[in-house]
């Protein structure tokens, strides 16, 4: 009954649109891009916001388009279905991606792109889908399996599927996708345990 109520009461995907609009704004402003991109040297000199804002910067039209379309789909579904902690998910994934890349990728001067956060959103969506019934549940299970398999292959081959089709000027970073997935799983487990302790706060 509650699930049906979620489906019928269509919510406006505020956070998704705010994040997408920010990414478009930043992409169209070279000054903002320079100010917000993950720049290792600048971060070392104290510009710590770049650890987070680097996720909103994109390096080409294709890069922006792919990430935004994926984020729009995943984010809109999450917000329409009223899954909790979506802003927390986006922020924590962005922070963890920035910090971990800074720690383990000393050779990477710049990083840009929303795909880590997108992967977190897809994983979070699929995990919530597993708690529902019908065809949607199986679709989410298949999607989740696909995401995990893709990340595994990317990490094993140390390259992205993007390489086989793209001619981008940057090197894809599969690690950011792994961090996004792990963040989503952790947040989902936390929200699950919270809802078990307080059944009124359903997922």
């Amino acid at each position: 009954m509650e699930a049906e109520a979620h489906l019928t009461a269509v919510r406006f995907p505020v956070w998704t649109l705010v994040i997408c609009a920010s990414a478009v704004l930043i992409f169209n402003s070279p000054e903002l891009r320079t100010l917000l991109i993950y720049d290792r040297a600048a971060i070392t000199h104290g510009e710590l916001w770049r650890l987070v804002t680097g996720n909103l910067v994109h390096l080409s039209n294709t890069h922006l388009a792919y990430d935004l379309v994926a984020f729009l789909i995943a984010g809109t579904i999450i917000e329409i279905r009223c899954y909790r902690f979506f802003p927390t998910l986006c922020l924590s994934a962005a922070i963890l991606i920035g910090i971990i890349l800074y720690g383990v990728e000393p050779g990477m001067y710049f990083y840009a792109g929303l795909s880590g956060v997108v992967t977190a959103a897809i994983t979070y969506l699929c995990l919530h889908g597993l708690t529902e019934k019908g065809m949607w549940r199986w679709l989410c299970a298949a999607m989740l399996a696909g995401v995990i398999a893709k990340i595994g292959i990317e990490l094993m081959l140390d390259q992205s599927f993007l390489l086989s089709v793209g001619t981008e000027e940057f090197v894809p970073v599969p690690l950011s996708h792994l961090i996004g997935t792990v963040t989503a799983i952790l947040l989902f487990l936390m929200s699950l345990s919270a809802s078990l302790e307080h059944p009124k706060n359903a997922l």
């Binding site: 710049f110 795909s115 999607m143």
Partner: protein
């Protein structure tokens, strides 16, 4: 009595010039310098080299070398003014071994970057004074490097006497009282060139200023130590600046693709710029996934 006075007078007349001499030795300026401009553009009559568009093939093969000093030209190399040369550390500011050590420090720092395949340390003997780009082409052939970081330096040492130098009149003071005040100013400059296109990619300086003191007797030893520390400190600062300039250069390469061309060697997956991007296959699956959701929702 008269004999005693006579002896004192003679002693005074003998020691006065000696004291004056060693006192005079202790003030002066020493300068050691090499210049990238003198090395690359030795003949001003020749037309200025017009750089082309650099093609940076990743991963990069980089050479690093100190430009040789051209003492025959007069203006550079080693100079000293005032004082007595043996007290001023001699004409060699940097020995070959010290140069190799400094270059190794720079090389070790940049080896960690995945876009650098190898760094070759080129001994000064392979660079001819005023050798210009023809000499760099030879280096390129010999070492197989595409890019070279040319290091030059400029070190000036000033020595002045403080009030404590009055104790030199006691002779013992010259051995135990640090009456000499030394100032050592050092600059090391790295200029990175793409050899084929003759284009300067970026440069980064490193500077240091060391103040010290010494007794008259160990002045030259102290000056050598200050000189060595000056080069070490300047090299450390230069490495930090090189990091910054490299980051800015990478940004410039992205912003001005018409001025710099980047080519990746097949199989090369490393690099300084990472991008988090969704691949087309995942995107298509997600579009289908979202399509199903919205179709289902519309039906409800």
């Amino acid at each position: 009595m008269k004999r005693t006075n006579g002896f004192l007078l003679i002693a005074f007349l003998v020691f006065l010039p000696i004291i004056a001499l060693i006192g005079g030795c202790a003030t002066g300026t020493t300068k050691h310098a090499t210049s990238v401009v003198d090395y690359l553009f030795p003949d001003t009559k020749e037309p200025v080299v017009t750089p082309g568009i650099p093609v940076l093939t990743l991963p990069l093969r980089v050479g690093i070398a100190f430009v040789p000093s051209d003492s025959t030209k007069g203006g550079r190399g080693s100079q000293f003014r005032g004082g007595f040369p043996p007290f001023h550390g001699g004409a060699l500011a940097l020995t070959e071994k010290r140069k190799a050590d400094l270059m190794q420090e720079v090389a070790n720092h940049f080896k960690k970057y995945s876009f650098v395949k190898e760094i070759e340390i080129v001994p000064s003997a392979y660079l001819k004074p005023g050798g210009s780009f023809a000499n760099l082409d030879q280096i390129r052939t010999m070492y197989g490097v595409d890019i070279i970081a040319l290091l030059s330096y400029d070190q000036v040492q000033f020595t002045d006497q403080g009030k404590l130098s009055l104790t030199y009149w006691t002779i013992v003071g010259a051995y135990v009282i640090p009456g000499e005040k030394n100032d050592t100013h050092t600059m090391i400059d790295a200029v990175v060139y793409d050899i084929t296109s003759r284009k300067m990619l970026f440069r980064a300086p490193g500077m240091s200023h060391i103040k010290g003191s010494a007794t008259l007797v160990n002045l030259s030893e102290e000056l050598r130590a200050d000189s060595d520390k000056g080069f070490s400190d300047a090299a450390k600062e230069m490495i930090v600046n090189l990091d910054d300039q490299l980051a800015h250069f990478k940004e410039k390469v992205k912003e001005r693709p018409a001025e710099y061309k980047v080519v990746r060697t097949p199989g090369y997956t490393g690099g300084g710029t990472g991008g988090g991007s969704i691949d087309p296959i995942s995107l298509m699956l997600l579009v289908g996934f979202g399509g199903y959701f919205f179709w289902k929702q519309k039906r409800i």
